[in-house]
């Protein structure tokens, strides 16, 4: 078969739920056009075709949690011209980074009858902690329009248009009344990066931080406000410790409230 001239794209998976790579298959209207513009060279969830690297773009989902994966990510990096991490697991360690605050051996014993069979690292870490990453696409899950944007930006050699401002900006733009001001809902919107379209406040609940810390966040001021609303330290810790618990700004703020 003649070598295709189309850019080769690979999709890799580490510890994760599969949701971010599923976002690609969830592009129902764009999928066939995307598949026309690129060569899907490695994407096991969708295809049994395996085309050897190097790859023009690698999309990496998931966090590093095992010794094997800590090795494997270096192979992925070597095979990739551009490496883009997708989702909270790959960019911040994901929900499984909750182990980073506890004793992982004890946790393994709580789940598995024979902990000796389980090989796992004491911390779940972002891909960028192990190899150079060209772009981190945030979200739990990622926004599929942003995924199409980032792939298209790299294919055309232009700067991706992914805003770093907070969820509050999206809320104002959407015309949603502030759920924290109006209803006293505990909302992470002021310190969380936009990307979801400010979904939670539009559904009358506080943002819970899927897209991780915004640029220059001030979580201390937010925590003070929550305290004034009568929130316990314990609850503040849990609010910062979800899907981006090990992202720097969230991690530090949660630690500041730990008893």
């Amino acid at each position: 078969m003649p070598e295709s001239k189309k850019p080769k794209v690979a999709v890799w998976k580490f510890a994760s739920c599969d949701g971010c790579q599923l976002s690609l298959l969830d592009c129902e209207d764009e999928l066939l056009a995307i598949a026309d513009a690129i060569e899907i060279a490695y994407f096991p969830e969708a295809s049994s075709t395996v085309i050897k690297g190097p790859y023009d773009i690698s999309l990496v989902e998931g966090s590093i949690t095992t010794p094997h994966d800590a090795e494997h990510i270096h192979h992925v990096r070597r095979a990739s011209k551009v490496l883009i991490t997708i989702g909270a697991c790959a960019t911040a360690g994901g929900i499984q980074a909750l182990r980073n605050f506890r004793d992982v051996r004890q946790m393994v014993a709580q789940v598995y009858a024979s902990p000796a069979y389980i090989e796992t690292l004491s911390k779940s870490t972002a891909i960028a902690d192990h190899v150079f990453v060209d772009f981190e696409l945030r979200g739990c899950p990622i926004n599929k329009a942003q995924l199409v944007e980032i792939v298209s930006a790299y294919l055309h050699g232009r700067k991706p248009n992914i805003p770093r401002y907070s969820v509050c900006v999206e809320c104002k733009r959407r015309g949603t009344p502030c759920v924290m001001v109006a209803e006293g809902a505990l909302c992470l919107g002021p310190v969380t990066q936009a990307g979801c379209g400010a979904l939670c406040p539009a559904y009358q609940r506080g943002c819970y931080g899927c897209f991780g810390p915004t640029e220059t966040p001030n979580p201390r001021a937010l925590s003070e406000h929550w305290k004034a609303l009568g929130t316990s330290s314990d609850e503040i810790v849990r609010l910062y410790r979800t899907f981006n618990a090990f992202a720097d700004a969230f991690r530090k703020e949660s630690e500041a409230h730990e008893g």
């Binding site: 298959l25 992982v104 393994v108 559904y203």
Partner: protein, 435 residues
């Protein structure tokens, strides 16, 4: 030197099983035309959900457990909220209960359309993926993508987004959908229903390997409705228990080659969960249209061929589209999006029917509603044993096939179960060894 009685060993291996959700491997060794070892290995890195749920609030379980699986987050949210409501003595009825069923129908439609057309059909038709399949069957694939999209539209409307919905809470929802949006959805669902019926005919015409086995099927069963969120757990060999008796009857076992725990029905052995089990145990509860479609497609009311699960998924898609329309037709907005929930100490059990089978949750709460311990049994870990058994049976009956063909067929055997390895912990590597 080999002599006449020397052992002949064949080892067939596929280093990576594709078109499944997650990471696993398969290993088959055939010695003198007899299968000597079969391992369906799961080496998805463990993520330890049951451990870090300890110390979290009851209200956090639906959002946290959704992250176990990006393919069926609604299933996790539904099992979680029902278990919590059981623990807290709350029952969600009427329109809120119906909206939950509607949301679940959305997940069934999108997940079944994904598996039928994008993951499983390429096996039957000999393509590596749906993209290649689209070159020869462009209209079918375009239609399939639209069907999947409509399933996702339901999840988006009721859940806020298709992956990890944000609108599900213990007690109900955060926000109710607008009537106009539901009515718009109904028009799309009418189209989807026709496509689902066509999908039944299309899948029924695929070439099916002749393989039947008298499995023990296990699924939820409800006298008045096809099971989604509620019911008793029944089996084709007489099991009939309430959800809170689950752990008395089912045991999990931790084996060396897998990070997913294997499940066993005590005293019975391996059992089968998923669409085929649901269909066989709940045929009477299907809608008339779905029943007629199954009959017309020549599908028996009790089907023993696991390859035909692709037709059953299509029949369930018919049901889900039709049921979704019914729910929208009957919908009267409830007074509030959720019922009141007060924390208290207790144990709660929940089981719901994920697209790929029964998903069990159990939580123990303290008096502030904080989780003391949690147990989650996903469908794929329950099917692991039956998948290994099927492989053993299939290879034994088909060892005359050349390695390449046998390997492809083995992968198809696995995909019959739509395994979600992310759920069961995740990458399938197929490795057949012939001795």
């Amino acid at each position: 030197m080999k002599d006449k009685t020397a052992t002949v060993t064949r080892v067939i291996k596929v280093d990576q099983l594709a078109r499944v959700e997650g990471e696993g491997a398969l290993y088959v060794r055939i010695r003198n035309d007899v299968v000597s070892d079969v391992k369906f290995r799961i080496f998805e890195p463990p993520r330890l959900f049951e451990a870090f749920l300890r110390g979290r609030a009851y209200s956090e379980a639906p959002d946290i457990t959704a992250r176990i699986c990006g393919i069926c987050p609604v299933a996790y949210q539904m099992s979680a909220v029902h278990a919590m409501e059981h623990a807290l003595g709350v029952s969600v009825t009427g329109a809120l209960r119906d909206l939950r069923r509607l949301l679940y129908c959305g997940e069934w439609i999108e997940s079944h359309a994904l598996h039928i057309y994008m993951l499983h059909a390429p096996d039957f038709l000999g393509y590596p993926d749906v993209i290649q399949m689209a070159k020869d069957h462009p209209e079918t694939v375009k239609q399939a993508l639209q069907l999947k999209k409509i399933g996702n539209e339901i999840v988006r409307l009721l859940g806020g987004r298709e992956i990890h919905p944000i609108n599900v809470r213990v007690g109900g929802f955060y926000h109710l959908p607008a009537l106009a949006d539901l009515h718009r959805l109904r028009e799309q669902l009418q189209w989807a229903l026709d496509v689902a019926l066509e999908t039944v005919r299309w899948t029924a015409a695929l070439p099916f390997p002749d393989m039947e086995y008298d499995y023990e099927f296990v699924a939820l069963h409800h006298p008045d409705e096809y099971p989604l969120n509620e019911g008793r757990l029944v089996s084709s060999r007489g099991l009939n228990i309430a959800i809170d008796e689950y752990e008395k009857h089912f045991a999990e076992e931790h084996i060396a080659h897998s990070t997913a725990l294997h499940s066993d029905l005590k005293g019975h052995g391996a059992y089968f969960v998923g669409p085929l089990a649901r269909y066989n145990l709940n045929f009477e509860q299907l809608s008339l249209t779905a029943k007629d479609a199954a009959h017309a497609a020549g599908l028996p009311t009790f089907c023993l061929n696991p390859f035909k699960s692709i037709i059953v998924r299509a029949v369930e898609t018919v049901y889900a589209c039709e049921h979704a329309i019914e729910i929208i037709n009957a919908y009267e907005p409830p007074p509030r999006p959720a019922v009141d929930v007060q924390p208290r100490a207790g144990i709660g059990y929940g089981a719901s029917e994920a697209p790929r089978g029964t998903l069990y949750h159990r939580y123990r709460l303290d008096d502030r509603g904080m989780i003391l311990d949690a147990k989650i049994v996903p469908p794929t870990s329950q099917n692991q044993k039956i998948i290994e058994d099927d492989l053993r049976r299939f290879v034994s009956a088909n060892h005359h096939l050349a390695d390449a063909e046998l390997t492809t067929r083995c992968e198809q055997v696995i995909r019959n179960y739509d395994p979600c390895i992310s759920c069961s912990t995740h990458f399938l590597r197929l490795h057949i060894e012939r001795e």
